[in-house]
Amino acid sequence: MIDPRFDPRRWLRSLFAPIDGPLALVVLAIVGFSTVVMVSASPERLGTLGMNVAVAFCTMWIAASVPPQRMMSVALPLYVLGVVLLIGVALFGDVSKGARRWLNIGVARIQPSELMKISMPLMLAWYFQTREGLIRGRDFLVAAGLLLVPVGLIAKQPDLGTAILVAAAGFYVLFFAGLAWRLILPVAVVGIVGISSIVAMGDTICKPDVQWPGLREYQKHRVCTLLDPTSDPLGKGFHIIQSTIAIGSGGVVGKGWGKGTQTHLDFLPERHTDFIFAVLTEEFGLAGALFLTVLYTLLILRGLVIAAGAPTLFSRLLAGALTLILFTYAFVNMGMVSGILPVVGVPLPFVSYGGTALVTLCLGVGMLMSICRHRRWASH
């Protein structure tokens, strides 16, 4: 029995009401491009990819339907849960590939650091919202503490890639909340000087008997391999050498879809996950790389526009931080694959194969959509 008042047009419209058109279009375009690349790189995974995309889009739709007030109310519990799970990992976690990242909760293995990527900006935005109008230097100290505890736990696992992403997510909230330039600039300058000096002294500090304080052997190895990939052509350097060859040999228009020799002769490692950008650029060339970069730029600009129009401090900070996280993913991944950043396990957003990251990213985009739709919320 169909209700006589049922109007399919209206029903559809209300179904898509939470979705922000521009954001959805850009994400769809990137996912579509990803699927085209995946057909070439790893066709046997298409089925799972389809399922992952379906789950991720549902997540996006649900997140978009949740009003920002509701997000605020779960910020603190989610953060506490995340920290507790991270401590659980440190104590009882499963070790895989030399790192303790997974927690076995009986039915499934979960990676709590993934949850932190969203709940960290949520928590800090919530914190600053509660202090609105009274924000002082002390609050930034508290926020930094809230940030450093989970980041430290994740870095200890060790999972440098995720630790950087979570730290960045938290930092963006601090930045948008008004962290003083006199604190940001010196750090930025020291960072730039430090990195330049590492690059300059690469030969001396990469000798095998030199120990780097605070960093693990494999982390030192990654940085040194980046400085001189030929020092380890069978191991980690192999990835960078092969991916730069793939990108470079793609040329302006690429070798053509399904014709990448690096990809199909199996020289490219992890070609469906972290290094999928190399497949894309080998087969679609500079044109493909620019197309993708433009799509990401559109995504980020749209996010920043949403942040600018957001009505409350909470939603402003959250929208700004989420947008910059998307940027960080894209920049770090493309940077490492093209050989200007060290290899850290960061996927290319909406392109790399991997359900967890896709769901996390779509959750973030869904939250942006929700903030966009509730522009009038609490404006009085």
């Binding site: 199996d266 790389a289 620019l290 947008t323």
Partner: protein
Amino acid sequence: MGEMRTPEQELSRFRGRLVVAGVVGVICFLLLVARFVYLQVVRYDYYATRAEDNRISLVPIVPNRGVIMDSNGTVLARNYSAYTLEVTPSKVPDLEATIEELSKLVDIQPKDRRRLKKLMEETKSFESLPLRNRLTDEEVARFVAQRYRFPGVELKARLFRDYPLGNFASHVLGYIGRITDRDLARIEENDDSANYRGTNYIGKSGLEKSYERELHGQTGFEEVEVDSGGRALRALRRIPATPGNNLILSMDLKLQEVAEKAFGNRRGSLVAIEPGTGAVLAMVSVPTFDPNLFVDGISPQDWEDLNNSPNHPMINRALNGAYPPGSTFKPFMALAALANGKRVASQAYPDPGYFEFGGHRFRDDVPGGHGAVDLPRSIAVSCDTYYYRLANDMGIDMIASYMGQFGFGSRSGIDLDGESSGILPSPEWKRRRFKRPEQQKWFGGETISIGIGQGYNAYTPLQLAHATATLASGGVMYRPHLVRYIVDARDGTKRPVAAQPIKQIPIKPEHLEAVRRGMIMVNKPGGTGASVFASAPYVVAGKTGTAQVFSLKGGKYQAGRVAERLRDHALYIAFAPADKPTIALAILVENGGFGATSAAPIARQVLDYYLLGKLPGAPAPELKSVEQAAADGHAPGEEPHGD
């Protein structure tokens, strides 16, 4: 920050920062685009050539695998070089026809074809796969002359693993085999993929597996310039491989041989340990298998035979067979009683031939009993009644906690993978082991059987030997280890495998002395092992044991074999010379009947060789039949009892 601002000021500052973020983001992306332009436009020619040249530019050089030797330098596992005929399926237009043509030059058996087919299913098509191993010189010559006819088929010199002793000590050595997907996953897990590029074999069991890291070595590589046909033109750069390290075992091959032969055709296990170091002198699990069968991929027929044999030759009984210790448990029980003040060594208890508990008679094997029995004599004559009463007096918790100290029920930490932990029964264990509440309850009667090494007790021969060695060294426990030295393949330096004591169990000298006296009396007139060690020129502290098979829960013996497989397991533990022990051992003979008649004679041969250098004459006497065993006053299926 610090000063108060109006919401309008806040908002405009926020928007300012959004602009900053947008600008920085765009600059970063432009940086990336600049990098892409550099790679794809400026250096396009260079990378295009690199990609073109990439096919076979980096060739791994597989390191020689380390050699395994016994304590005297006899080689137990080595490598030899031979030619193999390899096929890269993706480069061969018609595989069937090619193999057909090849078979006219080289002998290719159906089993070679089957193996290639299996390998092709397991690997990617651009890998080079072996079609025939160990070509004769004549076959090599014939193929080389006609090589041009076979694109994608190559002759390669490869190293093969060889176990010159065949069946001897095969459980200790283990074997290597082709790397499977599961091995690959583990290699990746350990971040070793680079080092295994080019390696086809990996340790699958025994020392070959547990010392894989030492034996494998460091892969080298060669950058080779190749023409369009894939032929190497010249080497550009070469980093040689570092061979794997050699292992020198503490195992004495001759002792191992004496021990293995002493078992005759029986099933069982022997572990001999040097008490002061934990060095394993011999580790026997019989029947054995030939590890050479596995190296090139075992044929399905051989695999079936090994796996379906009722004798289970693939199981390392020393590590993974869990057996009730029977009366060999008694010296440890005696020590527990003394340490906890439950017994005084000199006090004798009457033995009427049974112990009554809860209206049930636990019987001794001598119907009238042994008369008045003190602690040393209870060991010498293996008096069950003494230990029934003792177990009851001590209670299960005290027994379990004391026995746990000797390593019963926990892994010894030996340098082999996959050791079983056995079962040290306790109420706590029972709660974990069983699901239903009525099964989880511990009964007092169960404690009584535990006292004579029966009931749920189940330990590996290694645990038994480990505990005996700990007893022999006065309570100092060492981690058992088979490898004595790791020899660096580059400079020949010997790195000893440390013999650090794990712990010291506090034992009073007088308590140790009482137990030792009992164990010496075992092999003197009146003791259970007297006939075997008559006229031995050294003094042995030992203990015989017989473990009931019938009372074992969940036995999966086939109906037709019940009679033979129902026979008791025979056990013997010993250390010698009793005053200054240099060897401690545990022996188990499956379904061997009495410990004194089938396990102790093996100990005599091993000790004669180890202490006197005397080689045995005839193998140990054959098994008695079940009927005879029953006529000796012992029938299977009664209450648990000792010797």
